[in-house]
Subunit: 450 residues, 4 copies
């Protein structure tokens, strides 16, 4: 089973218009959530059209050459993970025909009991054409013939454990679903009577649409010619993913009623309070550490500056790695500004440390650029446990913080000090009750298990 | 449900070698059976690899760039039909995972009770990701969990009515199946201990392999590390498709123990006996009428010549048709040699007339080139009924012979005469007992119905 | 310098219309003259558009996506030779800007004093961006500033020795030129007031156009808004290329006032008279030997039949040759019909033997298929000398007939006999005076040298 | 003639190695200088290889599939401008053959007397295959046959007026040239005995190479097996382009002995001194205004923050603009953070205003996001005159500052105030003598004219 860390976008409109441009822009705004494949399923009310491709939205999706279509609704997906040649088979939306007609599904999250469900389904005769947990959802639905889709779905969803924000498209309806724990975000918007749904609000902004509200955990919203209907299919048991705030969402998005950028700055401020150190300059690891570094600088009174520039155009190079290019390491992506660091005591801020290998190269880069002291500050607590709800973290053995103290990590990185934000500090900066967020990757307390 | 008029090729080898070149050549030799998409599924004994693409084998299939694989077996498919955007979804082989593991299926033929079966399957929870009847076979198999595939297959096949030559690949076995009626051909060959299977023997010739025998109607052949095993899953009730001889198979293939080219010449000879006419020259409609025209000329003593040349490179043009290109009609593909026809009485021979529109343009072309008389001779009887077993014939209303006599057709075509071979003459030329061939498209007697 | 064996097509129309479809079809009909690249230059009267690509016309050329253009004239080219990576640089038409404005040139033939001219031009300051002799023509023209193009061209052409059929396009004029020796063909046609020019008349047939006449050797035809003007820029000294008849032109073309197909049959008849042998069947090497084999059969009274089928879809495969595919040799392209040859004395007819390696594989193929005797008959004399005028023949050492007698060749091929048509027989069959054809490849008498 | 705003990168190595990876990375680091096409010419000492393509380096350039080459030297180019279909013809390096052998040229800058030179060349017989002024340089060189290239070049360069940083590659030598005025940058670096040359030093950093020095204005450096030789071909008359500092170069590059990032911050500081205003927050227009905004904030003591986020993935979308997407305007690329601006007095800093249309949309965006006051501050003086030396500025009429005062511009933008840095302040911040920089776009004093 693959882990999905993806982005969703959907539109329903009574205008019957070609939805490609809106879908294209909406998915582009969510591109940071997945850059490996992209797809759109659209319906004109009687037939469904599907296109998927490998790469960025601009590489994977193309305007219909035959002419404009009168489309009623569409759902789209950008995908993070790829596993070799199978990339296209697992691209989403996934479409199939079952007793209820044609259906397309796009999914963000990870079903933890997927293997279990799939084995049961296979044993009772289901066949699978992808390696995604999303296909399970269609199979479960197909096992309930004769029911309307909104009546069948609650029984299907009851069987699922884990993280799932879902968009479902039939030839007549668009359905948006968020799991009872609310792990992954999903929001509703509006653009001149068009109903919109997106993983993050930044997808509304790009097309000048209005953010309305987030879908509630355990809520299913059905849009059809009869208008919008909301069903609570399960009791809400909120455990928002903290990592959407720390790293994954776009800073200009609004999540769980919080501005992401503002939260990230607050994390940096809290970090400055908890883990102060004397220094001459605060610099971010670009771009992930920038808002927190700014918050740290504001609170500490130490000047903020840019000490590292990003090579924006080599992030997705397709050249085969050679011994030489490997030896260049992080230098291919990041370039230090010696003038900023030379003979200075430098605080460098990032959002997290996973394996520690990149951070180590960054410390060396700063030292080579003349930094007198390097203090690494992390705007989240140590990641000690893997995520089962859709964030693609490695095994415990590879998570440096699972076995090493901040002091040990400082030695490994070659830094003068390494300090993390505390769980309490993080929760406070985010401003949500501690029991309504998922802290599993930090404290190992998993809200649900298989 | 789409009708499949396709080509199959498969290899099983204990050598564990990269099978791409052999598959590529074998499928290329069968390209006349389908030019719209091509695909290969291959296994190295533990993992299955699938590639499919649109167009000719040379356009659709590409060597693995990562390096050679140690492959145990592979099956491939070339496909005839396309229906708009869905072309890739319906391309074969079709692969899926079920309780028995991963499986790939390639299919030539048409299941007549497919709609019926699909409805039943959908009602009991199956989902479909293609519009092919092939997917039904995998679903039926998946409904029999816990059984070995060769034990489950006979029950599955008992449910199928219609035409099916099948290749099935698992990570351990290659299985070749021919329906009890034997509508579509399927033959076994050998190349230095490699087991081969192909729709037509010409696919063996191209790689220097040896033709061994045809698979019997109602026979299933399983190749695995335990060698070759043959199972008769149903009583044989032979109804070979006559059209494979008349038009569809390659002239250098061997089918039902007959040489196709020789049969086609014999059809022309028989036609000359049945439907003689005084004339100066016998010419074929290239390339379909060439062997029969040669037979007709031999038997009648009237000189054979080429009167029409084919524009070999414009058969598959992708330019958008315009009013002007449509007005050119058959001229884009065929060019007359006026010198051959001028002031002559011409017998033109083709294998069949379907709608009559192309034949009409050809008669006009010969007249314009100076032919004094044009006698159309057809080396098969009038097609009056649609085929349900895999030949893509139009509805009865569009079959000109279903409502018009040869005289009426002659008037429509502008020919001096139009004559067909009789059913008796055709059967005699082919040399098979009349009750062992399918004559449905000529006499409406369908061996099986839904 | 590369040798060009190419096809030309051009249109001039007062209608101002999008010429893409006509150009596409015309070039497709000439595809047999060059399959490695294709290009079109078109003018709307004030700006010139150029597109070129690698491969067949259907692969290389694409309709303008922006919309239809109002075009005044266009010239196009299909190219035979490729030399590695340089394929696009040498693709034609070649376009450049010089003191007289923008110009595009398409060329069929080979300038024998090209190296000489290029050295002179380079020494006096010219730079070259292709490896084609065509670029020389533009340079020579650019050296005559201030002259009208039709006034400058005669001086330019006087410097050229060798074979050149040329199409030249400016924003106002289309100019068609044939060298004084008339090595390569070039003909004028008409389609509803559109002026057409093409290497062979079959390009007129495909679009329903009328063949008017061939351009005379040493003639230049200029089409502009002032109509059509003909200039004789040199005294005619006809030496038509015999090989256009023997092999290169399409059988349905009309060249030098002869029907190519009729000439090829006549070559076979003459061969039957000159080189008879007792046998049971006459078969062609498809497709090159087919008309001559038919002529041989007619004249000799021995039955004509097809003994070898062509694998039409593997002619242009792009798979990397491996040891195994090389071992398959001609089998990949040709497949014998054993039933036709078994226990028979076979006459096999081809148009020529160059190196002898393919012919040898064909003889072995016939023997393996059961032929009792194999008599190879060639419908042209032995090729003993290389061509310098645009046919891509190898060096003398590789021309098997340059050093071996027919008997020796029979031994090399494994044939019972090998016999060629005599020069006299060939000239007689063609029906042109011996002093008006080029026989250099047969007798070494080169009409012009560098 | 097209204007070139481009990037150059070159390598010469005695190691004879495949240079693709180094070229690919070096050009990627210069991607900000041109994103429309990319190309590499490389020599193995006897043959030259050329590849060019449309788009980013990652789209345009591909590793040689045939295998690694033993290359002696290579030059590469990224290009800014595109003009419709002609994009590939004008891509660089430009290669040609002349009396001195094969040569490739890559050019950054703009020759102001190009039309004049081209007319002269055309009149005396030269033909042009591109619309670039670069081709003129090869022609001029070709007019001096018999001379060594380094002897011929000074005479050629004397004829050129305008901006030219050049890389020239022959099969034996790499030559780097900078015009006497030094408009465009060009620097020398070293990586383990490999000689490097690049438009900006950031191209050395990405591969871990060492910056050595800038090439002097009027200097030509020749690298060959005889080592490195420097020739002063003209008296130096420095007029460095100010805009490389203000906007064009990468912040982590080092130009004219100054750190670009540091200069940009200093421009912001100077601006704060010259044009202060009371406000609550300083925000940049990302990314162009970021360093200056930080400088402004530091100097003024007003907090720096990010108020606008960039949609990184929609910068280069290829969807056809529609009325709807046009109505979205700058929103497609930029997204405001309302929380930062709401009810605040905002200073927004950018590097320049050209037409004013984008700035106007940004002001509206800030107002909509709740800004109480909007003060636009520009870290360079008003651009009143077009550039003739390689920066692609529009005509005077379209330069808003050529006819409008800051107050008028403020009205047009809807800003509370608009203020520019003075010429004196800019020169002071850069720290170069006023007579050694080109200020033509600000004051109309052009160092050279045609």
């Amino acid at each position: 089973m693959l882990k999905d860390k993806c982005g969703l976008f959907g539109i329903y409109t009574q205008k019957k218009e070609d939805l490609f441009h809106l879908m294209y822009l909406g998915l582009s705004a969510l591109q940071h959530r997945g850059q490996e494949s992209a797809g759109i399923a659209a319906t004109d009310g009687s037939a469904m059209y599907l296109q998927k491709g490998v790469g960025l939205v601009s590489e994977a999706l193309h305007e219909n050459k035959i002419g404009k279509r009168k489309e009623l609704a569409a759902i789209g997906h950008v995908r993070y993970s790829t596993y070799g040649a199978s990339v296209l088979d697992n691209a989403q939306p996934l479409a199939a025909r079952y007793s209820g007609g044609v259906i397309a599904v796009a999914h963000n999250g990870n079903i933890v009991n997927a293997n279990n469900l799939r084995e049961k389904l296979e044993y009772s005769g289901s066949i699978f054409q992808s390696a995604t947990d999303t296909e399970i959802i269609i199979h479960l639905l197909a096992r309930l013939p004769g029911k309307k889709i909104e009546e069948a779905l609650p029984s299907v969803l009851k069987e699922l454990k884990g993280a799932y924000s879902l968009l479902i498209l039939t030839n007549k309806k668009l359905i948006a679903i968020r799991d009872p724990w609310g792990f992954r975000p999903l929001a509703i918007g509006e653009l001149n009577d068009r109903f919109l749904v997106a993983s993050e609000s930044c997808a509304f902004d790009i097309i000048g649409a209005r953010f309305i509200r987030e879908i509630e955990p355990g809520e299913m919203v059905i849009i059809s010619e009869n208008g919008e209907k909301s069903i609570k299919f399960a009791r809400q048991d909120e455990h928002f993913c903290i990592f959407e705030f720390v790293y994954f969402a776009r800073p200009d998005s609004r999540l769980y009623r919080r501005d992401v950028y503002k939260v990230r700055k607050a994390l940096g401020e809290e970090l400055a309070k908890e883990k102060p150190v004397e220094a001459d300059v605060v610099i971010p690891v670009p771009d992930s550490g920038t808002p927190a570094a700014l918050g740290y600088a504001h609170k500490s009174g130490i000047p903020f500056d840019f000490g590292i520039m990003r090579n924006r155009y080599v992030g997705r190079t397709f050249i085969q790695p050679t011994q030489f290019t490997r030896s260049l390491g992080v230098r291919i992506k990041l370039n230090p500004l010696p003038d900023i660091m030379n003979d200075k005591r430098v605080i460098i801020v990032d959002d997290s440390i996973v394996r520690g290998t990149t951070s180590r190269m960054i410390v060396k880069m700063l030292r080579d650029a003349g930094a007198k002291e390097v203090h690494f500050r992390i705007s989240s607590p140590p990641i000690k446990f893997p995520c089962f709800y859709g964030i693609d973290t490695p095994n415990r053995e590879k998570l440096i913080a699972s076995s090493s103290s901040p002091n040990d990590i400082a030695k490994f990185l070659g830094a003068n000090s390494v300090e993390y934000l505390s769980i309490e500090g993080m929760v406070k900066a985010i401003g949500l009750p501690k029991d309504r967020v998922c802290l599993a990757c930090f404290n190992g307390k998993y809200p649900i298990l298989e």
